[in-house]
């Protein structure tokens, strides 16, 4: 307390610079000044190029059995080896990456949209609306997520769409709770009251005043969500509940898991790919978060 008060005088006195730049270009400058964020972006671009352009260069069908099972990486011309059915893992990584990333991003978007909406309305309106929405959230929270998503997939059939929806529907609760608590805090701040006495409507207050200030923890949650959605899809496909006709990283892990002691690489390679993707996305998320914050932008 006293320390912050004492150091405040020193830190506060930043020389004012007067330059008017477009907010977007300022944000871009800030983002690109952050090496970690740029590294994340480069990494993500490489992964996207690998998965989406790779198949045009390396044209092996990921479902075709091309060699004897468990050929270690680098041998017999298979850069990443073959799996338990003798399928080319490199081809599976390319094809599976497209699906995994699509599911990860789509499921994260779904859970953020649901979570932010529920959390924002609960936190902003309070009272009975909040009680009702939070009981609703708790209802979803106490459901065993894997079991619940299995039920959804079993009921509506295993397709990419149902799997994505199922993951999104079971994982929004964390976003909702974070959003609500941020809204509860920010709605009491005086700049919200000031905007209201400037005759702002509820929608403006929620989306233009409170939400931008509530973003940092939501972005962090959304980052985590991408990774966990990819892993969730892996779990579902391991249980045989994902679309069997499409290859995904999760499916590679799931199908090779029984043989992990004999051929660890078949599990480790897709695992490492998931790790790299999640890392890239969270680095970008962090960078975006900083770029969106005008306080950090000046540093």
């Amino acid at each position: 307390m006293a320390e912050s008060a004492a150091t405040e005088g020193v830190m506060d006195q930043e020389p004012l610079e007067l330059k008017i730049t477009h907010p977007l270009s300022e944000m871009a400058t800030m983002f690109f000044r952050n090496y970690a964020a740029v590294a994340g972006l480069v990494l993500l671009i490489l992964i996207i190029l690998f998965t989406f352009l790779g198949p045009y260069i390396h044209t092996t069908d990921p479902f075709e059995m091309v060699w004897s099972p468990f050929t270690p990486p680098g041998e017999e011309g298979f850069l990443l080896g073959t799996d338990y059915l003798g399928r080319d893992i490199l081809a599976a990584m390319m094809a599976g990456g497209q699906v995994s990333m699509a599911i990860g991003l789509a499921a994260a978007v779904i859970s953020v949209v649901i979570g932010v909406t529920v959390g924002a309305f609960a936190g902003y309106y309070g009272g009975v609306i909040e009680e009702a929405l939070m009981r609703f959230t708790e209802f979803f929270q106490v459901l065993p997520t894997l079991l619940f998503s299995m039920v959804i997939v079993a009921l509506f059939g295993a397709s990419l769409l149902t799997v994505t929806l199922a993951i999104g529907v079971v994982s929004w609760t964390a976003v909702a709770r974070v959003t609500r608590s941020e809204f509860l805090r920010i709605r009491e701040l005086e700049y919200v009251a000031a905007a209201r006495s400037g005759s702002a409507r509820d929608g403006y207050l929620i989306f233009r005043v409170i939400l931008p200030n509530a973003l940092p923890p939501i972005i962090v949650q959304a980052n985590l969500m991408v990774g966990s959605a990819i892993l969730f899809e892996a779990a579902l496909s391991f249980l045989g509940l994902s679309d069997p006709n499409v290859m995904s990283w999760g499916q590679v892990i799931g199908s090779n898991r029984p043989y992990i002691l004999d051929a660890g690489f078949a599990v480790a390679i897709p695992g490492f790919a998931i790790f790299l993707t999640v890392l890239a996305i969270s680095l970008i998320g962090d960078g975006l978060n900083d770029a969106l914050n005008p306080k950090l932008r000046q540093r």
């Binding site: 007067l18 701040l189 905007a195 006495s197 400037g198 005008p294 000046q298």
Partner: protein, 331 residues
Amino acid sequence: MNAAATKSQESGTLTVEDLKVYFGGAKRFFSKDAATVHAVDGVSFSVPAGQTFGVVGESGSGKTTTALAIMRLVPITAGKVILGGTAISDLKKEELRSARRRFQIIFQDPYSSLDPRKRAGDIVREPLDLMQIGKLAERDAMVAELFAQVGLRPEQRALFPHQFSGGQRQRIGLARALSTRPELIVCDEPVSALDVAIQAQILNLMAKLQRDLGLTYLFISHDLGVVQHICDQVAVMYLGQIVEQADRVSLFTNPRHPYTKSLLAAVPTVHGNKRDRRTRLRLKGDPPSPINLPPGCRFASRCPMAEARCRQASPPLEDRGDGHKVSCFLV
């Protein structure tokens, strides 16, 4: 009577009649109803156009809640707030939105009252956009002019709040309040968070703006020196009620209510010294909580003069001549 009626119609005149704001007590889903807090309990006063009305009191006195209720930022339990003939306490959603341009507020904390993610210019411009004031093309020039009016450089519109000092941030808040050309500005402790040297700059600026624009101020503060300096009329609040109200000179030269007296005695001044301070009136204890209010005069539990009847009935706020109102049986 007729003259008084037309007077209260005049734009900028604020009249508050028996204002009550209670918190809590509402039932929620699955939870018991909480105790009711009588934050503001029957407050009435009126402020002539172009004047400054001060409300002083300690924490828990309800002065800030009074300000927020007049701004329609907290729900009003009962009573009326009339600004220039319009009963703003009765306005419904859209009517209230369009009436809001007539009354604005500035807050105590220059740090939490400005959105950290918006540029200073956009903060001042926001009410103009929301209320469709002026033509789109003119608004930028209007904002620049407001900046100049409060002593900021128009180029500073592009900066973010954290790049300003506390005093400058309060100027931004003032510019935002002025942007809609309001009749009334509610000032909730506008200088309490500022350094003493900066307080004077803001107080002088506020006085100048009042002279130039004919603004009515409702000035909430705990700082008696500041209130004495800037206000025409002063009301002293204790636990949700006004205990004394008078014009500035009368209140400070001739305080009547024992609470007002002890409040004045508690303030250290540069004219005082170590020896004299000890001889002054001292209040014991803290104000009781506004949840379980004792019957009778709310000040009785701390009052050095209280008698038995003070604990039985509430003294009314009565005019003791020259508009000096006191609510006390004993003076």
